[in-house]
């Protein structure tokens, strides 16, 4: 392992479990365990998978004005976010592009924020610089983060605390698990029902072992995490969304509540609002869509997409074989004129041409628990 890579509190446990380790976001992380990516992916969709996501950044925003302050950085309704509800948000830049995507949960005395590992330092600096004077920005380097995902996650987790059953999708709460005070949200990055668990770093291995002791639970690496989120149609920051993509181009306008759009009570007031409001009104020239193939060759990030006349239509930003449906799937940005569901396009892969069809997302039905 390179001396420059950071480690999570579960690093030794991953090695003990036979993980193949790779660098990710500056951390030495498990890409798979002995069973491999396909088996880990299918296990998560059938039972329960345990993921170490401690490399991600956890931050608290504290103070009476924290919600209004965060609204100056994101095109999302935070002020009216009810207590113990969670929302997906985006840090934007002056061009309406995306600096990172994040999750925000209102708790009794703070906002609990989770950001991507690769953007952690920049996001914390961004918050400190722009809203550090309006609220307290408190990173939580001593908290680990575990994700337990799959249709049997709640069954497994209920053995540690039956109270978790009352959480519904995108809600959170404090629960004692194996004697450890944890903060949970019923959400994740797989398209399945499941939980993200914030646990003190010095108790993370204990909790991980308690979860792995449940018969439904297996450890899952980042390789399957990527195929799971891709089948769920979810964006990976730095690939499907980045500083050059707006939320409109990225097809994530559902994250922008009406109150923050032009005409709403708290319209604008975040970076790039004029660009985003203009695109909400007039549309954008390109759009992120789902592509699916009936052939076998995977179509990966960077593959060009062309139309019937050979004209360039766009580019693939994520792609792989979807293990649950056994078909190649991809996310791509296409010219809006050719982005309608059902449009037939061609992907260029090496010297081959792969027929693909624009399709709705997700590729695999969600299993979210809405109560």
């Amino acid at each position: 392992m390179s001396a420059d890579l950071l480690t999570t509190p579960l690093h030794a446990l991953h090695i003990e479990l036979g993980a193949k380790m790779v660098p990710f976001g500056g951390y030495d992380m498990p890409v798979q365990y002995a069973t491999g990516i396909l088996a880990e992916h299918k296990h998560t969709r059938a039972a329960a998978g345990l993921f170490d996501v401690s490399h991600m950044g956890q931050v608290l925003l504290k103070g009476a004005g924290a919600d209004a302050a965060l609204e100056t950085l994101v095109p999302v309704d935070i002020v009216d976010l009810p207590v113990f509800k969670q929302r997906y948000a985006l840090f934007t830049n002056a061009e309406g592009g995306i600096l990172d995507d994040l999750m925000v949960t209102r708790r009794a005395d703070d906002l609990f924020v989770v950001v991507n590992a690769a953007c952690k330092a920049q996001d914390i600096a961004h918050m400190q610089q722009h809203i550090g004077g309006l609220c307290t920005v408190q990173p939580l380097p001593d908290q680990a983060l575990l994700a337990l995902q799959g249709p049997q996650a709640v069954t497994a987790l209920s053995r540690l605390n039956a109270g978790v059953q009352k959480l519904t999708f995108m809600t959170g709460g404090h629960f004692e698990l194996d004697g450890i005070d944890c903060f949970l949200t019923r959400s994740g990055y797989t398209g399945e029902d499941g939980f993200e668990i914030s646990v003190p770093a010095d108790k993370a291995v204990q909790l991980a072992r308690a979860l792995l002791a449940q018969p439904e639970v297996k450890p899952i690496g980042l390789g399957a995490r990527d195929t799971l989120r891709l089948e769920a149609g979810l964006c990976l920051y730095g690939h499907d969304i980045d500083t050059t993509t707006t939320p409109v181009e990225g097809s994530i306008t559902w994250a922008i509540q009406k109150v923050r759009r032009a005409g709403g009570a708290r319209a604008g007031g975040y970076p790039g609002a004029s660009v985003i409001d203009a695109q909400l009104a007039q549309g954008a020239a390109r759009k992120r869509v789902g592509l699916i193939s009936t052939e076998r060759m995977p179509v990966r990030e960077g593959a060009r997409i062309v139309g019937q006349d050979g004209q360039d239509l766009g580019i693939v930003t994520s792609g792989s074989l979807g293990p649950s449906i056994n078909q190649p799937v991809a996310l791509a940005y296409l010219a809006s004129s050719h982005a309608a569901v059902g449009t037939q396009v061609t992907a260029l892969v090496r010297d081959k041409r792969v027929a693909m069809t624009v399709t709705t997302l997700p590729f695999v039905p969600n299993g979210y628990y809405r109560g």
């Binding site: 193949k20 890409v31 798979q32 990516i37 088996a39 390789g223 076998r296 995977p298 074989l321 293990p323």
Partner: protein
């Protein structure tokens, strides 16, 4: 039965009729992870050594399969095309990739025998 190996982690089983069966080694399939797609050459195509004869794709990445010798493809493994996981479950048997008619059998002398290949793996 003579089996030769290449530094690119391919094996060749030399047959009495002047052909060789070619596949990837156990080390290669382990390094690749789950194989999801195999792009095999067309029967009748001729290749020179080090030419890219095909592609083997895992979940995460695509890797070139190199032609280890000069020759013409006489057969490809249709079962592998239909079930790429054979490259993982049986890389030295049912997971073979293609058969090649050796144009220059002397080229085999430059390839590794099992001892030399095992040494290469030990020192990797």
């Amino acid at each position: 039965m003579t089996i030769k190996y290449t530094p690119d982690h391919e094996w060749l089983q030399i047959e009495a009729d002047g052909t060789a069966i070619v596949g990837i080694t156990h080390h290669a399939q382990d390094a690749l992870g789950d194989v999801v797609f195999v792009d095999l050459p067309a029967v009748g195509t001729s290749f020179n050594p080090k030419d890219v004869a095909g592609v083997v794709e895992s979940v995460k990445a695509a890797a070139d399969v190199y032609m280890p010798v000069t020759g013409e493809i006489t057969e490809v493994n249709e079962a592998l095309r239909d079930d790429p996981s054979l490259a993982n479950s049986d890389p030295t048997g049912a997971g073979w990739f293609f058969k090649v008619k050796l144009a220059k059998p002397a080229e085999l002398d430059a390839l590794l025998d099992k001892t030399a290949y095992d040494d290469l793996l030990k020192n990797a």
